[in-house]
Amino acid sequence: MNDARARWRLLRTGACAPAWNLAVDEALLMLAAPGGAPTLRLYGWSPHGLSLGRFQDAATIPREFRPTEPWTLVRRPTGGGAIHHANELTYSVVISSDHALTPRTPMEGYARFHAPLVRALASLGASTRERGEEGAPPLPRPRTFFCFGQSASSDLVTEDGLKILGSAQRRTRRGFLQHGSLPLEGTAGAQRGATSVADACDRIVAFADAEAAIIEAFRAEFGIDFVELALTDAEVQLTRERIRDRYGNDDWTMGGFRSRTAARRTIES
């Protein structure tokens, strides 16, 4: 083993409930400590979830996505549009604000942490790239309800220009969180212009195989080793608190705004 290689923490938390998933990501961010190792977390969703972006208006959920489906509605701490989390692998990177790899700008973050995902998808048989400014239509205003219903310049697209991965971020004084969805099968929620790993690779890729490809790609991209650890007691406790206060709380999910000013703007947009 080369001791000079930096070590990141790896968390494989499997398929968990939507509120738990988002609460864990936020707990990791809230507990990011100066000098701490970055964390790569990989997870799935059971039951499926519909996550709203931080400032999306819950009243704009399309009728066909409000029905009796056994989905859990949650609101992310990060920006962007809604995502139907079904058969997907979600990644999150949490990094303390003093770490050399912490991006200075949102676009720098997307480029930095999408690079290993391009590498992982290539190893699975899908050629992808960041869409880039040239092929990126301006984000619609009002933006479409679903994240996968539009494409930003930072999103990963296949050679056909279909969106296969989009990410979102949250930045605090302590740290930086970027997470993103990689649909393994189906284009969840009838999100036109999007594709999945299965369609892009022309074969079903198991969750574990996608997970392994991403881990290896992060190792190669950043020249790091991983130490696989479970959530700490403090992280579990904070996760529970965040579920109580936010991710499992209707006030947060249906509103989530600090003020009526922002709510008004969201509704009007």
Partner: protein
């Protein structure tokens, strides 16, 4: 050119003190790094703020960033036009892009804020990272 008469924070907010009221905004450095702003969530008038705690959030390109209160006090005014015209923040962060006015509860906190020279040195170091 950053205004000389303002105080600054390491989390890139600025403070203009007039009597017992502080006007708060984000600096040009923060605004330019956030780029294309999409949403701004401000507190309500009469909300209280605590120095160092998040009091507002701003979204750009699917990225949400916390904005921290430089001082403790009570919100006495908000720039209600800012959420509807985010260009104001990008175009004129030290003027029309102000965010809130806070009635100071602890004037001694102002001593902890940076002068423009100190802030510019800090930004220079940040830019080299």
């Amino acid at each position: 050119m950053r205004p000389q008469d303002l105080k600054y924070t390491k989390t890139h907010e600025w403070v203009k003190v007039e009597g017992d009221t502080a006007t708060i905004g984000i600096t040009d450095f923060a605004a330019s790094h956030l780029s294309d702003l999409v949403y701004l969530d401000l507190p309500e008038v009469q909300d209280s703020t605590t120095a160092g705690k998040c009091f507002a959030e701003i979204e750009s390109v699917k990225a949400v960033a916390d904005i921290y209160a430089p001082v403790t006090g009570e919100v006495v005014a908000i720039n209600a036009e800012a959420p509807d015209d985010l260009e104001k923040i990008s175009r004129d962060p030290f003027g029309a892009g102000w965010l809130v006015k806070i009635k100071l509860a602890k004037t001694e906190e102002l001593r902890d804020l940076l002068t423009v020279e100190q802030y510019e040195k800090f930004v220079e170091q940040e830019s080299k990272k």
